[in-house]
C-alpha cells in the first residue's frame, strides 16, 4: 500500500512540469479500488453480568483488512485552479474475529473458566461523504487535483454482543459454541486529503487514479459495554477509473 501511495504522489510534480491553468468547469471521477482501514485490529469487551453471581467477559479482537472500495466525486472550479466538490466512497468487508472470555464457575467464587473461539462473517460497511476543497494543476492532457476537507462517515459494523457456550457437570470447563451478533451503526465527522490524477483521452473523457487518506474515530454503541466499541474508519484508499471533464 505504501509503495502505491509513493508512486502516485511522485506523479504530481511530473504532471506539473508543463502546467497550464485549469480551464474545465468541473471534473468528475468514478473509481474502483482498495481501501485499508487505519486500524487493522480493534477490540471490544462485553461484560455479561451476572453469570452465576459474577461477571463474565467476552473479549473480541476484530481484524480489519483491506477491501474493495467504490468512489465517485465531482470537483467544480470556482476560481483559477481552485475548486470545491464532494465525493462519495463506500467500502465493505467481511471479517473474522477472535473471541476469548471468562465464565464464572457455578459453585465457587473467583473461579473463572476460559472460553475461546472465532466469529466469522462480521461485516463492516462504510459510506463516506468527503467534502473537498481542491487545487488543480493542469496540462494539456493531464491534470492533478489536490483535495482535502471534512468527511462524514456512516459506518455499520457487526459486533460480537455475546458468546454462547456449553457446559456440563462438573463445570470445570466450558466449550465455546457461538456468538450473538449485533449490527451497530455510527456516524462521525472526520477529514480527508488526497490527490487525483486524470489523463485525458479526449476533450471530455479520460482515465485516472486516486490516492486519498481519510479518517475518523467512531464508537459503536453496544449493550453491556462500558463505552461501546471504538475503532478508526476510513484509511488510505487507492483507486482508478474514468474521468469526465466539462
Amino acid at each position: 500500500m505504501r509503495h502505491v501511495l509513493l508512486v502516485a504522489l511522485l506523479a504530481v510534480p511530473s504532471a506539473a512540469q508543463a502546467q497550464t491553468a485549469w480551464t474545465d468547469h468541473a471534473r468528475v471521477s468514478i473509481n474502483f479500488g482498495l481501501e485499508q482501514p487505519p486500524s487493522t485490529t480493534f477490540a471490544g469487551t462485553t461484560t455479561i453480568a451476572p453469570v452465576y453471581l459474577e461477571t463474565a467477559t467476552v473479549n473480541t479482537s476484530y481484524g480489519v483488512s483491506s477491501g474493495k472500495s467504490f468512489d465517485g466525486g465531482v470537483l467544480i472550479r470556482v476560481a483559477g485552479g481552485f475548486g470545491v466538490g464532494a465525493a462519495v466512497s463506500s467500502f465493505t468487508k467481511s471479517q473474522t474475529a477472535a473471541v476469548t472470555g471468562t465464565i464464572p464457575h457455578p459453585f465457587f467464587f473467583n473461579t473463572l473458566r476460559p472460553i475461546s473461539g472465532t466469529s466469522s462473517s462480521l461485516e463492516r460497511s462504510e459510506t463516506a461523504i468527503h467534502i473537498q476543497a481542491g487545487y488543480v494543476i493542469s496540462s494539456k492532457r493531464v491534470d492533478v487535483a489536490i483535495t482535502g476537507g471534512p468527511s462524514f462517515f456512516n459506518v455499520s459494523q457487526d459486533l460480537v454482543a455475546d458468546a454462547t457456550y456449553t457446559e456440563a457437570y462438573p463445570y470445570d470447563t466450558t466449550t465455546f459454541s457461538a456468538t450473538t451478533i449485533s449490527k451497530a451503526t455510527a456516524t462521525k465527522l472526520g477529514f480527508n486529503v488526497g490527490a487525483d490524477i486524470g489523463v485525458k483521452l479526449s476533450k471530455n473523457v479520460g482515465v485516472g487514479g486516486l490516492v486519498r487518506f481519510s479518517r475518523a474515530s467512531v464508537t459503536f454503541p453496544l449493550a453491556r459495554t462500558t463505552s461501546g466499541v471504538t475503532t478508526d474508519v476510513g484509511g488510505p484508499q487507492v483507486a482508478g477509473g474514468v474521468r469526465f471533464f466539462f
Partner: protein, 552 residues
C-alpha cells in the same frame, strides 16, 4: 433484549432526529406507547395511527375480548408485522369503551429496512438450532418461525425462532435467516436452575445451587446430576420424625427456601452447599456418582427442632436433634436414606465442660461433618459395614477419612485432620472432636492394643475408628505412632490422592459388611497393589501405617 432499554430509547425517539454526525446513533427506533385518557390529543393521534397501521397490514389483530371486570369495555391486541413478517416484541394493546378508545399501550418499531426473503430454509435453521443446543429437533413436526428481531445494538435481523429443550437446558434460539448465525438465545422456562449467594453458619459466603421458581428460590440443586434436596423442618420435630420414619413424604413445601438471592439461614446454606461439595469430591476423585453410584437422590434435613426449646429438651432429644448429626440409611418415605443436622444451641446457651462454657454451632456448618454423614450413605450402598464393634469402627473411620478428605478437596489451604473443629467454641480436644493426626490427645486410641472393648457406643465405634483413621493419616503424612513408636514413611501430602483412592477402593469395593481391622489392612494393601503396583510407595506407606497402629 432489555425491555427497559427499549422503552427508554423509544421515549427519546419520539422527538429525536438522527442528523448529528458527532455521536453514534442506532438505526433502530422503538416507539413506546403509553397514552390514556389524560392526553386526549395524543390518544386520538395514536388511535388514528393504529387504525392506519392495521389497514396497511403493519398491525394484525390477534385477540379481542370483553373486559370481565368492566363489561362496557373491550380490549384488543395487535401484533406488528413488517412485510407480513411478525416483529418480535412489537405489539399494541388498545382498550375501548363503546367504540371510544380509552388507552393504548405497547411498543412499535420503525426504521425497519431489511429484506424478508430468507436465504435459509426453516429446516436449515432447525439444523443450526439442533447443533447449537445438542437437541435433535429433526423429530419435531414444528418448523422454526420467521420473525423480525430488533437487535440490541440497533438494527434488525430476519431470523428464525425455535426452542430446544433438554434435561439441563430449555432455551429459545433466534437464528439469522440469511446466514445462520445465532442472533439471540434466552431461557424458556421460568422454573430454572439458579445460583444464589449464601452466608454459612460460620459467616462465610458461598455459592449455592438452587431452583428458581415463581420468584422464590428453593434448596433443590439443579446443576448437579442427582436430585439434591435440603429440607427445612422449621423446628417441627413431629414433622421431622414422621419424615425420617417414612410416615409422611417430604414435599416442595418443606424445602429450604428464600425469596431473595442472598440466603442468610446458615444451616440451610451449608447443608445444601456442603452436600454438593461432597458429591463433587466423590465424582471428581473417584468417578463415583453419588451415594449409590447411580445418582440416587440426596436429602438433608435442617432445623429438626427449635433452638429456643433446647433448655427444656430432654437429654435424649438434646443429644440426638441438637448436638448431633446423623445419616439414617433407611429413612425417608422411599427408605433410601436421609441426613439430619442437629440444631446446635442458641448463642446464649452453653454446656459446662469442667469449668469451661462450650457453645455449639449448628452441625450443618461443619464441612467435614456433612461429608462424614454423607459417607455413611456411601458405605450403606457399598460395603454396608455393620454399625457394631470393629465393622462399626471401620464404618465410622471411613466417614472420618472421607470427611477430612473432602475438607482438603474444598479448602486445601485451611484443611486439617480434626473432625468437627467448627462445631464448638472453644474447641476442646475429645469433646465432639476427633483427630486422625493425634488420636490420643483427643481421647481416642491410636493403636489396636488399646482399643475399647466395652459395649458402650456400639463397641466403641466412635473411638476405635481412630485406629484406622490414624493409619490413613500416617500413610499420607508419615510420622511415628505414639503408642507403638513405629515410624511410617508416608507418600506426602502432595500424593494425598493416592491414599484416598486406596481407602476408597478398599472400603467401597473390597470390604464386606462384617469386616474387621485385619481385613481392612489386607483390603487397603490389595487396593494399593491394584492401583499402584506391588512394592510401590503407596503400598509401603499403607502397610507401614497399619503396622504402626497395631493392625497386622
Amino acid at each position: 433484549m432489555n425491555r427497559a432499554r427499549i422503552v427508554a430509547a423509544g421515549l427519546c425517539a419520539l422527538g429525536a432526529t438522527f442528523a448529528i454526525p458527532s455521536r453514534p446513533v442506532a438505526q433502530m427506533r422503538s416507539l413506546a406507547i403509553a397514552v390514556g385518557s389524560e392526553s386526549a390529543d395524543r390518544l386520538r393521534d395514536w388511535d388514528v395511527r393504529v387504525d392506519q397501521l392495521a389497514r396497511g397490514g403493519d398491525l394484525q389483530r390477534r385477540d379481542e375480548h370483553e373486559d370481565t371486570l368492566m363489561p362496557s369495555r373491550r380490549h384488543e391486541r395487535l401484533a406488528q408485522l413488517y412485510h407480513g413478517v411478525p416483529v418480535w416484541g412489537g405489539d399494541v394493546a388498545r382498550q375501548s369503551e363503546r367504540g371510544a378508545t380509552v388507552s393504548i399501550f405497547g411498543s412499535l418499531y420503525d426504521g425497519i429496512a431489511i429484506g424478508t426473503e430468507p436465504t435459509l430454509s426453516p429446516e436449515d435453521a432447525r439444523d443450526v438450532i439442533s447443533r447449537l443446543s445438542g437437541v435433535d429437533l429433526g423429530q419435531s413436526a414444528r418448523l422454526p418461525e420467521l420473525l423480525i428481531l430488533p437487535l440490541d445494538g440497533g438494527g434488525f435481523a430476519l431470523t428464525y425462532r425455535d426452542q430446544a429443550i433438554s434435561e439441563r437446558d430449555a432455551s429459545v434460539y433466534f437464528i439469522d435467516a440469511m446466514d445462520g448465525r445465532l442472533r439471540l438465545k434466552y431461557n424458556l422456562f421460568q422454573n430454572q436452575s439458579a445460583v444464589v449467594t449464601g452466608t454459612g453458619v460460620l459467616g462465610d459466603t458461598k455459592k449455592v445451587s438452587v431452583r428458581s421458581q415463581s420468584g422464590t428460590y428453593t434448596a433443590d440443586d439443579q446443576l448437579r446430576p442427582p436430585a439434591l434436596f435440603t429440607y427445612d423442618m422449621r423446628g417441627n420435630l413431629i414433622s421431622a420424625l414422621n419424615a425420617l420414619s417414612g410416615f409422611t413424604a417430604l414435599t416442595t413445601a418443606n424445602l429450604a427456601t428464600d425469596p431473595s438471592t442472598s440466603w442468610t439461614d446458615g444451616p440451610n446454606v451449608d447443608a445444601h452447599a456442603f452436600a454438593g461439595y461432597t458429591y463433587d469430591f466423590y465424582f471428581k476423585k473417584f468417578g463415583r456418582r453419588g451415594l449409590d453410584n447411580q445418582n440416587t437422590r440426596i436429602i438433608g434435613m435442617t432445623h429438626p427442632v427449635r433452638g429456643q426449646d433446647a433448655l427444656s429438651a430432654p437429654a435424649s432429644i438434646l443429644f440426638t436433634y441438637y448436638l448431633n448429626a446423623s445419616y439414617c440409611p433407611l429413612c425417608g418415605s422411599d427408605r433410601r436414606g436421609m441426613m439430619m443436622y442437629g440444631e446446635g444451641l442458641p448463642s446464649n446457651v452453653f454446656l459446662l465442660v469442667g469449668s469451661t462454657r462450650v457453645f455449639f454451632k449448628n452441625f450443618a456448618g461443619s464441612l467435614d461433618v456433612v461429608a462424614h454423614e454423607l459417607t455413611h450413605g456411601v458405605t450403606a450402598f457399598s460395603s454396608n459395614l455393620i454399625y457394631l464393634n470393629e465393622s462399626g469402627a471401620l464404618n465410622e473411620a471411613f466417614s472420618d477419612i472421607m470427611g477430612a478428605s473432602v475438607e482438603f478437596f474444598v479448602r486445601p489451604s485451611t484443611a486439617n485432620y480434626v473432625m468437627g473443629e467448627n462445631l464448638t467454641t472453644p474447641v476442646i480436644p475429645g469433646f465432639f472432636t476427633r483427630s486422625l493426626q493425634d488420636p490420643l490427645t483427643y481421647g481416642t486410641p491410636d493403636h489396636y492394643s488399646i482399643r475399647l472393648t466395652d459395649a458402650a457406643d456400639n463397641g466403641g465405634v466412635h473411638s476405635n475408628s481412630m485406629i484406622a483413621g490414624h493409619a490413613f493419616y500416617l500413610a499420607i503424612e508419615g510420622g511415628t505412632n505414639r503408642t507403638s513408636r513405629l515410624a511410617v514413611q508416608g507418600v506426602g501430602s502432595a500424593n494425598r490422592e493416592q491414599i484416598e483412592k486406596i481407602f476408597y477402593r478398599a472400603f467401597t469395593q473390597l470390604l464386606t459388611s462384617n469386616a474387621t481391622f485385619a481385613q481392612a489392612r489386607a483390603a487397603t494393601i490389595q487396593a494399593a497393589r491394584d492401583l499402584y503396583g506391588a512394592a510401590s510407595a503407596p503400598e509401603r506407606a499403607v502397610t507401614q501405617a497399619w503396622t504402626a497402629v497395631g493392625v497386622n
